[in-house]
Symmetry: C2
């Protein structure tokens, strides 16, 4: 460490004012996203919370996409660490799915962020975790990609829907249950001839446990994967 940096560091520590850093910015961004939603993350609001100027942030972050990606990655890393058990592949895949489901439930903006930057770290981490377990399941090499990408697409699909639901609920400032009741009402008023299935399913809609539904979908795909293996 250079003498200059030491002095500056000491001075800042004495004053109790740590220097602006990438980590501090990302952490403040997560706070802002959790409390005010995606639309609450603004360079001006972020600067205010960090007691600095809006332009200062650009010294540590390249742009808003970078910021959102880093915030998302931070949550995904935490979630996947939770699922890092020593269970069998099937159980492990369920744990990965649930860990991500719960993380997105707690931080809805993560669901949208995952779809925003395909192929970047957060998605790659999920791909890796899922792929390793699918491989451990004994799926042959030529079916590995189809099985893994199906699971990944399903997980990201549920993530996106959950995020949208949460965003809508937040925008209208209503709780999940009220939102589902409103939706059930709308669906119930659709044309009976054109939408029989939707109407039939509308009544049960508010009673569904999204988490259980999500797990049922994972299980369905796993049945498909293992049925193929032994077929």
């Amino acid at each position: 460490m250079s003498r200059c940096a030491m002095i500056q560091n000491t001075r800042r520590t004495q004053r109790g004012e740590p220097a602006l850093s990438r980590e501090r910015i990302i952490s403040a961004a997560i706070d802002l996203l959790d409390t005010s939603g995606e639309s609450g993350l603004t360079f001006r609001a972020l600067a205010a919370q960090l007691a600095t100027g809006a332009g200062a942030i650009y010294f540590h972050i390249s742009d808003k996409g970078d910021l959102l990606g880093a915030a998302c990655d931070s949550i995904v890393v935490q979630a996947l660490a939770t699922a890092d058990t020593h269970a069998a592949p099937q159980e492990r895949l369920r744990a990965i799915g649930l860990a991500l489901f719960d993380a997105i439930d707690a931080h809805p903006w993560v669901g949208a962020a995952l779809s925003d930057a395909p192929g970047t770290m957060p998605t790659v981490r999920i791909l890796e975790s899922v792929g390793q377990q699918v491989q451990a399941l004994g799926v042959p090499d030529d079916a590995l990609w189809a099985a893994t990408s199906a699971l990944l697409s399903y997980i990201l699909g549920v993530a996106g829907q959950n995020a949208a639901n949460a965003r809508l609920g937040q925008a209208r400032n209503i709780v999940r249950e009220d939102f589902l009741h409103q939706l059930a009402n709308q669906w119930g008023q659709l044309d009976a001839a054109a939408f029989p299935f939707t109407r039939a399913v509308a009544a049960q809609l508010p009673l569904h446990d999204d988490r259980a539904d999500f797990l049922a979908g994972i299980d369905l795909i796993l049945v498909g994967i293992t049925a193929r293996r032994s077929g």
Copy 2:
């Protein structure tokens, strides 16, 4: 028709200038979205294309969400009409999936729009089409929702990823193949100990046929659904 409206209508027809209408606005919005992407849809650009003022649009459309939803619905209706064959349920479900895949490939913004407003018409139409065929497949009532929502989530998940890929490619102004090669390169440079699966799959990435992968995922879920049924 009132005398006033008749006169106005006649005058406009004679001048070859049809009045601004919801349909004309939505059609212009689709053009704009197809040619300039999601960021190209602006009330100012839309007004310019329609040779009117920005505020005039609000007389026929409530806000940007309404506009995007209506544009999305228009494409989904067309796509689902294509898949309305007389084939068996399994084949019909594949046709629905492929019709949506192709529509989103042609109009990438539809993928994002589908995730934006959960429970609204475009998604409900897909839910209905899929649900009817799952029912026709002979799935028992208590498994109907799990099977249908799994298929729906998977379809929406792939839609979102495809949309993001297209958006990224458009932003960087590169073709799909170049994008996948860049991604394969990045993935190949990941840490070998932490990302063995991703590294192994990176090389094959640019060779994959997304459309075939999508269909393989549908088949996997269908295997899971029918295995359950007879289990």
